[in-house]
């Protein structure tokens, strides 16, 4: 059956929930959907599962107030009711914060250019001036090549997150080992010191820890930090838009907002 309704939700992932991997998070949403009894559309095939599409994947350990996902339903469901039903059946730390109906034929968020705003809190106290000069240095450079590679852990299972290096060697990635080169500078739209030990950054195709590692900070400073995604944008045409405002259906019907 073709879905009748598409609901976009902004979801938070905070507290203990930030230790969930992306797959864990997907399963969590799936189970909450089943528990809620909402008329979610199921995929076809041998192994049917609830149909929803997350815009991006969040690395393990990051918290977020802007995980966007589109949910497909078999019957018309009021987006506000949807949010309430989900919030009643979700685990602590995962919370639907905003919902809105979306045109069924709107493009998938994952197919659009994306950017995110992160707030990074370094646990180590760092002089404001030092941090600011590092940030200025970064923004003044024209290009910052960076080799990104996948990491394996001791028990043999990939950890599901990436690590990289700025080794002095020419940026020639070993593609067989899944390495690739990115330009970090181009990926950073803005980078600011918001308060002592607090950095905010707006980035497209890179992760905040990759940017931080390019700031030449002390290793110990990078060891402990808290990262929170605060906003997420897509660029369907020439401008960055909040997905909660993009292709969402007009009218008062079915908008919901919840506090944390």
């Amino acid at each position: 059956m073709a879905p009748r309704q598409r609901i976009r939700a902004r979801i938070s992932k905070t507290g203990s929930a930030r230790y969930m991997s992306h797959l864990d998070f997907m399963r969590t949403l799936e189970r909450a959907l089943r528990r809620s009894g909402l008329p979610i559309t199921y995929t076809e095939g041998y192994n049917p599962h609830p149909k929803f599409s997350p815009a991006t994947a969040l690395p393990v350990g990051y918290s977020s107030e802007a995980e966007i996902s589109d949910f497909f339903l078999d019957r018309y469901t009021d987006p506000y009711e949807f949010g309430c039903a989900m919030n009643g059946r979700l685990v602590a730390g995962v919370h639907v914060m905003e919902t809105s109906g979306v045109a069924l034929n709107s493009p998938a968020l994952a197919s659009l250019p994306q950017s995110s705003v992160y707030e990074v809190l370094l646990w180590e106290a760092l002089p404001l001036e030092e941090l600011e000069s590092r940030v200025r240095g970064f923004m003044m450079r024209e290009s910052i090549p960076y080799v990104r590679r996948r990491k394996e852990v001791s028990d043999g299972r990939p950890r599901g997150d990436d690590t990289g290096s700025h080794e002095a060697r020419p940026a020639k990635p070993d593609t067989r080992r899944g390495e690739k080169v990115i330009d970090l500078r181009r990926a950073v739209l803005s980078l600011k010191v918001a308060a002592p030990s607090t950095i905010t950054m707006w980035v497209t195709d890179c992760r905040p820890d990759e940017v931080l590692r390019s700031l030449d900070l002390d290793k110990n400073v990078l060891r402990f930090m808290t990262v929170k995604k605060t906003s997420f944008y897509v660029k369907p045409r020439e401008k960055w838009l909040d997905p909660m405002e993009f292709d969402t259906l007009p009218g008062s019907a079915g908008r919901g907002k919840w506090g944390m």
Binding site: Y19, M20, D24, R31, R35, Y46, H49, G61, F224
Partner: protein, 624 residues
């Protein structure tokens, strides 16, 4: 904030610990359905410990049952704790953080009781590892007045002697009733630890090892294990829940936030199994069979699905297709759960066409494949072990699987069963050839076949408790012999997996060990043996050195044939099945004689029903 609360590990400290450890989600609370109670307002605190990782422990249904039984009491709380992986343990040690319970982050040494589930022998060093990380004194008699009671349960508690020094008490049999009795007793705790244990020893099903003395003969065998105090029962009998329908079942089990080994919800159809496979410990220690009613199961399944959101319900039992109304159950549940696309799975099935049909009904077999466990290749050897499976059953099952569109099959066998000869291994090859040619006749090509062979470990309380384990060199010879046989039978179409004979050897030592092995377990732990059940973590050389240091010959335990009248280290612990019955079964095994299942046939006289005060399944008197 008072003293107990203040001991909870602060969140910031935990977060620092978790930075950089593998899969941190397994160390945090806040899973759906986790129960959090106030330590200040709860009289009795129980830490449910599983001596393996979170992923393994969360897959164990017994722990979920006890968790819900304890937490349903207003005066008690239960929290979970698992063995942290090395990276986490290292971080905890460096930071001086003792092992803490998931829900409250309170150190488990501040609980009243730490209860370990003992599911397999190769988890024993992990018990010491967890006690050590918790800062709890390893030896029971050396523990201080304010340390928790350390108790153990699960199938290995039927011969817990290698761990006797480290435990204050063991619980034999079904835990759901006795755990409440222990809670009530400990809560009223007055006087000394020793007195409390004395009182505990009077609870039926509770074994307090310190009140028993073991004496040995010159030849190393046991002379006697007897009580050292008046009022201590000379034989401890297991507990059974008589009416499983009335027994509590967790309808809101904790749903993990991260992927675990069995990532599905389990519904226990029945407890016990009377098929009487002679190698199978579970078949003897969990007797008799007690079924849940169809109505109750339907009700439970509906609630489980709604409360967990899992996409799969596993219909668990020792042999699920033996549930008396399995067809009705499967069709009713399929109908009820299909709107939410919840599938059913049958984890342990008989080898016959009926079972394959059932699987076809509940799941797309392509998804999970299908495993048959004939255990032995020849009819003679299958009769020795009382498997009750004929080649006809097996071939019918295989045909049914092919009918269902399957082109990959798995077979499970054991190497080193009593009386096994090379002909029995040849028979495995013949069986595989036959399966291949049946498939070829249909599809014109070879199917994919996986043959897994474990190494037989003689277990206490079974008819094979007298038997020696085949020596390691010989096991290895048979493994390579079987590999050749299979290569000839199926070539590349057959994948052969075999079990590490070294692990099976240590398992065999511990399974029928006595109290003298405590030293070996402790030394093995200090030599760095943990997570022994994990193939890549098992350290055989260290285990051998541990035996050497303790002056103990492991072959005495693993490879020695016992005299008929030998006093066993577990003879003071009773499953209800009589020793004379096991001896009779052993004799019948030697003659390849079958013993029927008392569910469908007459009473075989194992003695469990009269011993535990349970009416016979078919009424009447026990033929024992």
């Amino acid at each position: 904030m008072d003293a107990t609360r203040a001991e909870a590990l602060p969140l910031e400290v935990r977060d620092r610990l978790l930075d950089g450890v593998t899969r941190p989600a397994r160390y945090v609370d806040d899973e759906f359905n986790a129960v959090k109670k106030d330590h200040d307002r709860t009289a009795f605190k129980f830490a449910l410990a599983f001596p393996d990782t979170y992923e393994v422990g969360m897959s164990h249904i017994g722990s979920h049952i006890l968790y819900s039984v304890l937490n349903s009491r207003s005066d008690a709380l239960a929290e979970r704790v698992y063995a942290p992986w090395d990276d986490m343990a290292g971080a905890m040690r460096r930071a001086g953080v003792p092992l803490f319970a998931l829900e409250s982050r309170v150190p488990i040494r501040c609980f009243d009781v730490v209860g370990f589930t003992l599911q397999y022998e190769l988890s024993y060093t992990n018990v010491l590892y967890m006690l050590d990380l918790a800062g709890i004194t390893l030896k029971s008699v050396e523990r201080g007045e304010h340390e928790p009671l350390v108790i153990g349960g699960g199938p290995c508690a039927f011969n817990p002697e290698p761990l006797a020094d480290f435990f204050d008490a063991f619980v034999l049999g079904d835990g759901e009733e006795v755990i409440g009795e222990i809670a009530t007793l400990v809560e009223r705790r007055k006087g000394r630890r020793e007195d409390l244990l004395l009182e505990m020893a009077s609870i039926s099903g509770v074994y307090v090892p310190r009140f028993y003395r073991a004496e040995y003969r010159k030849d190393g065998t046991i002379a006697d294990v007897s009580p050292t105090k008046p009022g201590i029962p000379p034989i401890v009998k297991k507990r059974v829940v008589k009416d499983l329908d009335k027994a509590p079942f967790p309808i809101s089990p904790v749903v993990p936030n991260t992927e675990v080994v069995h990532d599905r919800v389990s519904l226990e159809l029945f407890r016990g199994c009377t098929r009487g496979c002679r190698f199978c410990s579970a078949g003897f220690v969990y007797r008799p069979v007690r079924e849940r009613s169809l109505q109750r199961l339907e009700d439970l399944a509906t609630k489980l699905s709604a409360n967990t959101g899992y996409d799969e319900i596993s219909l668990g039992s020792l042999s699920s297709s033996d549930y008396s109304r399995i067809r009705d159950l499967v069709s009713r549940l399929s109908e009820r759960l299909s709107p939410q696309r919840v599938s059913l799975s049958l984890p342990s099935l008989r080898v016959d066409a009926f079972s394959v049909d059932l699987v076809k009904q509940v799941e797309t077999v392509r998804k999970s494949g299908i495993t048959f466990a004939p255990e032995a290749g020849s009819q003679r050897l299958r009769d020795v072990i009382n498997k009750g499976v004929t080649e006809e059953d097996l071939m019918e099952a295989v045909e049914a699987a092919f009918d269902a569109g399957l082109d990959a099959l798995k077979f499970y066998f054991m190497i080193g069963l009593p009386t096994e000869r090379d002909e029995d291994l040849d028979a495995i090859g013949a069986l595989v050839s036959k399966v291949i040619s049946r498939y070829k006749a249909r599809r014109g090509k070879k199917p994919r076949i996986t043959v897994s062979a474990s190494v037989f470990v003689p277990k206490p309380h079974t008819p094979f408790q007298w038997e020696p384990q085949v020596k390691r060199q010989e096991v290895q010879r048979r493994q390579s012999y079987l590999a050749q046989v299979l290569a000839k039978a199926g070539g590349r179409a057959v994948k052969f997996n075999w079990h590490d004979s070294r692990q099976s050897f240590i398992e065999a030592v511990l399974a029928r060990g006595d109290r003298r092995l405590a030293k070996v377990v402790e030394r093995a732990y200090h030599r760095g043996c943990i997570f022994d059940a994990w193939d890549d973590r098992f350290r055989y050389e260290e285990w051998l050195k541990a035996h050497e240091e303790a002056g103990i010959d492991p072959e005495f335990y693993a490879n020695r044939a016992r005299r008929d009248d030998e006093r066993f280290p577990w003879d003071h612990l009773s499953t209800g099945v009589s020793r004379s019955y096991l001896a009779r079964e052993r004799e019948k095994a030697k003659e390849s004689l079958l013993t029927p299942d008392c569910r469908w046939d007459e009473c075989t006289g194992c003695g469990v029903c009269p011993a535990l005060g349970i009416p016979l399944p078919g009424g009447g008197d026990c033929s024992w």
